[in-house]
């Protein structure tokens, strides 16, 4: 057992033997870039010329006033190229792939954001690219499929299991065990076998580094609380990274409460009561599974949080109580989204809106001298099909019906 692969009792690397050497290679390559300041510099340069880093920290004056409590700041990962924090991880891994001399990348995607980000990175770096996506998600997120294909990627529809993210991950592993010599698997979040959780968190820590500097400059001191949604855990770990151990800053991870924690239809691993420790998809964490160890179907209005597992690093923080976990229901998410659009002219991704929900619940208890930061992991305008559906917008439906009629002529 590689001790650095574990965070408390969580993590590890439960991989088929055929990938053993691939992971040794990856571990060495990761160790190298971690200790090479030139890599981080290259990464920062790439992100500030190809994407829009540093992303701003927006003072949401209207929302702050509306709730009459803490000053609400929003870290704007939505302004990244491709529209979400996913770009950070993917571009960093792209640089790594170049160093490793591989020529092809594969990735799983649920919401499609990570797939789009990976296809984008592959186009930029000149890699071949295959994206695995569950059939349900392909149906839900067709616009993203369209862009991935237009960027030159091959999108493979996964028709197994629950036909969602976890099945796409399995299928990506099946590709990897076949093509590991040429291929790197660009894992999309801080999950999976070591060194992925650590590596993805490290690349995402760029968010926290910026946010710390920004809040000190704009607010004058550290925030009282930081809110981030938790799917796999990468955006939350990214922003939390620079605040761990700060006595005055409480870190809050918000999971997908779906139809409610007691409904059986949610994706809350750490704050519900349907998860238990388990090992799947290459790592050990709290999984939504039954007593036999079979994974459950999860539910969330946001595809990006709709996942059975959670970062082992977060499971450790949960156990050690260094991060607090809450859940936001689908309904609360839509309300928070609506309010944020109307008050600030900002459209959070459905995933990100989970963090907004919890911040809105707690902001009134804090003083106007306090600041809270919400990590806005992505923008919602890509989610138009889902959001329009969630709002049950009649003119949107008419529009789609008319379009379809034109196509059927």
């Amino acid at each position: 057992m590689d001790s650095t692969a574990y965070f408390g009792q969580w993590g590890g690397s439960f991989i088929p033997e055929v990938l053993h050497e691939t992971f040794r290679h990856l571990e060495r390559a990761f160790a190298e870039i971690k200790s090479d300041p030139a890599f981080w510099q290259e990464y920062i340069t790439l992100m500030s010329t190809y994407s829009c880093r540093p992303t701003p920290l927006t003072h949401a004056e209207n929302l702050s006033q509306h709730f009459g409590g803490a000053q609400i700041y929003i870290k704007r990962e939505d302004l990244n190229h491709t529209g979400a924090h996913k770009a950070n991880n993917v571009m960093g891994q792209g640089l790594l792939v170049k160093r490793m001399g591989k020529t092809r990348v594969i990735a799983e995607t649920g919401a499609g954001q990570h797939g789009v980000a990976t296809a984008t990175m592959a186009a930029k770096f000149g890699f071949d690219c295959t994206i695995y996506m569950g059939e349900e998600d392909v149906a839900r997120q067709r616009p993203n499929v369209f862009w991935m294909e237009k960027m030159g990627a091959t999108v493979v529809t996964v028709r197994d299991g629950s036909r969602t993210l976890k099945d796409a991950i399995n299928e990506a592993f099946r590709d990897w065990v076949t093509n590991m010599d040429t291929t790197h698997y660009v894992f999309g979040t801080a999950c999976g076998p070591a060194p992925f959780p650590e590596m993805v968190s490290w690349l995402q820590s760029i968010i926290g580094q910026e946010a710390r500097e920004q809040i000190l400059r704009q607010h004058g001191r550290l925030p009282a609380r930081i809110y981030a949604c938790v799917g796999g855990g990468s955006n939350s770990l990214g922003i939390f990274s620079s605040f761990f151990g700060e006595a005055d800053t409480e870190l809050v991870g918000v999971e997908a409460g779906g139809h409610g924690l007691d409904s059986g239809q949610h994706a809350s691993r750490l704050c519900g009561h349907d998860a238990s420790p388990g090992v799947a998809q290459g790592y050990k964490t709290m999984f939504l599974q039954n007593s036999d160890g079979q994974m459950l179907d999860t539910h969330s209005v946001s595809a990006g949080l709709d996942y059975i597992g959670v970062s082992p690093i977060l499971a450790d923080h949960w156990e050690k109580k260094t991060v607090r976990f809450e859940a936001a229901t689908d309904r609360e998410v839509i309300e928070a989204l609506d309010l944020t659009m109307k008050k600030e002219g900002i459209i959070p991704a459905l995933e990100s809106a989970h963090a907004f929900v919890q911040a809105f619940k707690e902001a009134p208890e804090l003083s106007p001298d306090d600041a809270v930061i919400i990590n806005m992991s992505g923008r919602g305008d890509k989610d138009i099909f889902t959001i329009a559906q969630a709002f049950d917008d009649p003119s949107w439906k008419d529009f789609i019906i008319q379009r379809a009629a034109a196509y059927q002529k």
Partner: protein, 261 residues
Amino acid sequence: MQLENYLRQKKATKDILLMTHIVLGYPSLDANRAVIEQMVAGGVDCIEMQIPFTEPMADGPIILKANQESIAGGTTVEECLAFGAEMSRTYEIPFLYMTYYNIIYKYGEARFLDRAAADGIAGLILPDLPPEEGAELCAAARKRGIAPILIFAPTSTEVRMRELSGHGAGFIYCTARRGVTGKHSQLDADFGDYLQRCRAATDLPLAVGFGIQSRTDVEALIGLADMAVIGSQTIKLVDEQGVAAVGPFIATLNDVSGTSS
């Protein structure tokens, strides 16, 4: 040691041994029962019984689908273990469990091993449990007389193979190629080199699996390996031609493995 000894004795009488594979509960435990009966009658040397898991990362489409349909049909781990006990009581040949680590983790490692040992299970194949994570489980299994079957892959170095071998018992499962179960493997010159490296790295018998589908494939392994593993192919056969086709299929394979006996 029991499994290894059994295989060595059997091997003395045949050019090559045969292990077959079934997914418990697919299409049903009753069908499994009938298939196993035919397999044993056809003369297979041991059988691996896969306890289905929702996330069979190392399996290809055929076994994957079998896992899912079995679970969807309601198969529980408890039923699988009861079935395994029954088979091992009923037949003389060794039975192994193949599954993913989470099934055992959730059941409780010690509890699982105790029960498997009591039920006479001969070995355990866990494709997602490398020794870095599973050394203790391997040791605990060996202590109970259950052979932990370690896996060699074409990408394994010599050093790595030796290390793996040190954790294993019974036999080594050599995957014939990269990738997942199901797709046919080219047993070419590179493959011969690979098996020679495997042979050099361990004293345990060598089984070869992944894409062994026909009499020709099995024949090609003679002299290189001790046992051929037929996985997806029987499932496909049952899907396409029904349970009754298994006996004749095994007979053709065993015809090979018994040619020089």
